[in-house]
């Protein structure tokens, strides 16, 4: 049974980019990941593109249209906050199944057009409570802290670390 590994990673700084579109952000991250892996786009057997709030059909095809992707299948996924990690999982599954030797997984979204919280659907009793997406995670975190005796300060340290990595634009 073959093993599958991450060959390279690339990401943009986690901040607002008012002058840039999603396409340019994707290009920067893809270039960085390929450079990190010492691979070319033509080495990819498939491309998986996860996004949740970039409301266009064919987000992957649109974002990669100026790159040499001819002949490479591009699959778009929407799976809410897990869209990017689902793209990674699909890439893993394709390689593990022997459908390709290398694959590119992309997570992309630009949500700075939203003022405040991301809009929630209406007409569902749980959203009508005023529940927003962060509340789901807040409930889980709150229970975890209570059950395992973890301090809020310890959880905050994880957040500080994650944001520092994202802001630096260096996933390694």
């Amino acid at each position: 049974m073959s093993r599958v590994g991450i060959g390279g990673v690339g990401l943009t700084r986690f901040t607002k980019h008012p002058q840039r579109d999603v396409k340019s952000l994707v290009e920067e991250a893809v270039d960085a990941a390929l450079r990190d892996a010492h691979l070319e786009l033509r080495d990819m057997g498939a491309i998986f593109c996860g996004s949740a709030y970039t409301e266009r059909n064919g987000n992957g095809q649109n974002s990669l249209r100026d790159l040499p992707t001819r002949g490479i299948p591009i699959v778009n996924l929407e799976n809410a906050c897990a869209s990017g990690s689902s793209a990674v999982h699909e890439a893993y599954a394709w390689i593990r199944a022997g459908l390709c030797d290398a694959a590119l997984a992309i997570g992309m979204d630009k949500t700075s057009w939203v003022s405040g919280m991301l809009p929630m659907p209406t007409g569902r009793w749980y959203f009508d409570l005023g529940l927003m997406t962060p509340n789901w995670y807040g409930l889980q975190a709150s229970r975890y802290l209570a059950e395992h005796g973890v301090s809020e300060r310890a959880l905050a340290a994880v957040v500080v670390k994650a944001r520092a990595v994202s802001f630096a634009g260096d996933a390694r």
């Binding site: 009793w125 749980y126 009508d128 409570l129 005023g130 529940l131 927003m132 962060p134 509340n135 789901w136 995670y137 807040g138 409930l139 889980q140 709150s142 229970r143 209570a146």
Partner: protein
Amino acid sequence: MMAESLWREIAGEPRPLATRCTECTRTAFPPASRCRFCGSRNVNQVELAAHAIVEAVSLMGTVLVVHARTTDGVVLLGQAEPAGLVRVGHAVRFRPTGHHMRFELDE
């Protein structure tokens, strides 16, 4: 699911509704036409206890949302008041308002 079907008043007291599976015997909230655990269609609607213990909290602005486990063991989701006082481990009672699942601190 309509909000009205999430609870029913019994003897003047609002009681959360759930479905109990006659096959796997598990109880799930909110009520549904099938068992969320085993998929069976053989479910009955049951009323849950109106008293619960808060297991998780999340504050968004002035609204506190909680997971609260009823004394018969089912976890519910709803707002809790007063938002600044309710903590994990507190006893609460079910007091819905309008279309909202809601809890108050139990005295």
